[in-house]
């Protein structure tokens, strides 16, 4: 990856990070868009799986430090999701918006499943409700916002010719 591309990715990542901590509290929806996941996947599909895992770990740790319990759960989930996203991207996907939206949906849902299972903050019916209802809803909203963000950031994220 060239330096300019890295800079663009970092800018997009920073923007999404800011959105996560500004727009999300403003919306305050029950199923809010997760801009961290969008940022993570955006980076992951452009770097190697190992690097993506490290980015996921750091991002997850940042997110965990703000939450009350389960420090490390987000780091674990994001590491795995980021690694998987990078690996799957290398194997399957091209730059196709619907596919990326589906990718984001799956990534967010998988992350929620891993996070809630790892942190153990929910149990029984509440966990099932969260994983089967609210998480898919949040994943869908995240995918929708991911599409919008990708459409808006397309000029920034376009890779420069080799």
């Amino acid at each position: 990856m060239k330096g300019i591309d890295l800079l663009r990715i970092l800018i997009a990542f920073g923007l999404l990070l800011v959105l996560h901590y500004t727009l999300r509290p403003l919306l305050a929806w029950r199923s809010s868009p997760d801009f961290l996941v969008i940022a993570l996947l955006l980076v992951s599909i452009r770097v190697r799986p190992g690097t993506a895992a490290i980015v996921g770990f750091v991002t997850g740790l940042v997110a965990d430090s703000i939450s009350i319990d389960g420090l490390g759960a987000g780091a674990l989930a994001m590491s795995v999701v980021a690694f998987g996203a990078s690996w799957l991207k290398a194997v399957f996907f091209a730059d196709n918006l619907p596919l990326i939206a589906f990718f984001i949906f799956l990534g967010k849902w998988a992350l929620d499943i891993m996070y809630h299972l790892a942190s153990g903050n929910l149990g029984g019916g509440e966990l099932a409700m969260q994983l089967l209802v609210w998480s898919p809803l949040a994943a869908a909203v995240t995918a929708l916002f991911g599409l919008i963000v990708l459409a808006l950031l397309r000029p920034i994220l376009r890779t420069s010719p080799a």
Binding site: L17, V18, Y21, T22, L23, R24, P25, L26, A28, R48, P49, G50, T51, A53, I54, G56, F57, G60, L61, V62, D64, S65, I66, G70, L71, G72, A73, A75, L76, S79, V80, F83, W87, A118, S119
Partner: protein
């Protein structure tokens, strides 16, 4: 070979990340908390600040919305306050009327019928199950509203005073003049006024004079305010005056009414509508009219400038309904001469005069009023005796020399 190495390195990095995460998760809370706090104070501090400001913005927005909603509610409440005050006032008047009536009445909500031709009928929320009967009088705290025409078990339909079929036998509050009150069939807005017809020529009603039901006919008891005299009407009738009345009960005040049971109507409503009561609309009208009348005392018509003694005599004679009716109709010279002569000549016609004074119901059902008056059929129609209070008052007045 290079890709296999890099693949192994990626896997190792993932393993390391997973291992670190698991270790972090497994750390005791006492270790986790300082670590998270250190991160919040350093790396995550700008993000936390952003989140905090966003939260504040959201709360400010919600507070603004809440404040606006509260302000709108206050404005709405302020807008509806006068209406509520009016409704309160009306209900208070209704309570007062119920307290004065004491028994034999049914409170009801009145809903105006909007279909063509039925503009002057109301649907009442009480029917035969509540004791309502056909021809039951419908009243309001201000006075007479109308009469029940059709009775169903749960509802009933009443005609109100602007209805073309509405008639009520009436008299001035002090009993000096009698007549028949019906709707004034003029154009808007005079359509919502009343006419008092058949008032003898010798009787002059000043503006503001309160007109009440006379009790003749047995449907409307005596003493229910009907309206106040507005002015005299010029008509083609030669031997009687017609007066325009301002109704005591306006259409807007007909939303809540009282239906009198036949027994209650039969026993009279003396003292229920007290003219001295300050909350009586009719009394207010009378007071206003009285002051106007006093102010215009010098500008009355010439016949009102007759000697006082003569007026007293005439008044005494006028309060005898048989005399008034008959003399007005056929013995005008005798009427002008002496009251005693009028009484004598009129006595045989008493029954017929009474029927002429019948109110709406009897006229509608018997249809004898107009025929008898116009054709002057000699055979008197036997009718039930008028209400005790009414007849007593009339007889007493008639026997006064």
């Amino acid at each position: 070979m290079a890709s296999r190495v890099s693949g192994r390195r990626d896997t190792l990095l993932l393993g390391a990340c997973v291992a670190l995460s698991v270790v972090t998760l497994a750390l005791p809370q006492a270790v986790q908390d300082p670590f998270a706090a250190a991160m919040r104070r350093s790396v995550v501090a700008p993000l936390l600040s952003l989140q905090y400001n966003a939260e504040l913005t959201r709360r400010a927005w919600e507070a603004r919305e809440r404040t606006r909603a509260e302000r709108d509610s206050v404005v709405l409440a302020a807008m509806t306050a006068p209406q509520l005050e009016r409704e309160n006032e009306r209900l208070r008047k209704m309570l007062g009327l119920g307290r004065r009536l004491r028994w034999g009445f049914v409170p009801a909500e009145a809903l105006f019928n909007r279909s063509p031709g039925e503009e002057y009928t109301v649907v009442l929320s009480a029917g035969s199950r509540a004791g309502v009967r056909q021809f039951s009088p419908v009243v309001a705290p201000e006075g007479l509203v109308g009469m029940v025409r059709i009775v169903d078990p749960a509802t009933s339909i009443a005609i109100v005073w602007p209805h073309t079929d509405f008639r009520v036998s009436a008299q001035s509050a002090e009993g000096s003049a009698f007549g028949i009150v019906g709707p004034h069939l003029g154009d808007e807005p005079d359509r919502y006024l009343l006419e008092m017809r058949g008032v003898p020529l010798r009787t002059s009603l000043a503006r503001g004079t309160l007109i009440v039901s006379s009790g003749l006919g047995g449907v409307f008891p005596r003493g229910i305010p009907i309206g106040v005299v507005e002015r005299e009407l010029r008509t083609s009738e030669v031997w009687a005056n017609t007066y325009l009345l301002r109704p005591a009960v306006l259409p807007a005040d007909m939303s809540t009414v009282m239906i009198l049971h036949p027994q209650r109507a039969g026993s009279g409503v003396d003292g229920v509508w007290d003219l001295a009561n300050p909350d009586s609309a009719a009394a207010d009208s009378v007071r206003r009219a009285d002051s106007l009348a006093r102010a215009q005392a010098d500008t009355v018509r010439p016949r009102e400038a007759r000697p006082a003694a003569a007026r007293v005599d005439t008044t005494r004679a006028r309060v005898t309904p048989p005399v008034r009716r008959d003399t007005a109709r056929r013995q005008a010279p005798a009427r002008r001469d002496t009251a005693s002569l009028r009484r004598d000549t009129a006595r045989p016609q008493t029954v017929r005069r009474d029927t002429a004074r019948r109110d709406t119901v009897r006229r509608d059902t018997v249809r004898g009023d107009t025929v008898r008056r116009d054709t002057a059929t000699p055979a008197p129609v036997p009718l039930p005796a008028p209400p005790p209070g009414d007849s007593t008052a009339r007889d007493t007045t008639a026997s006064t020399p």
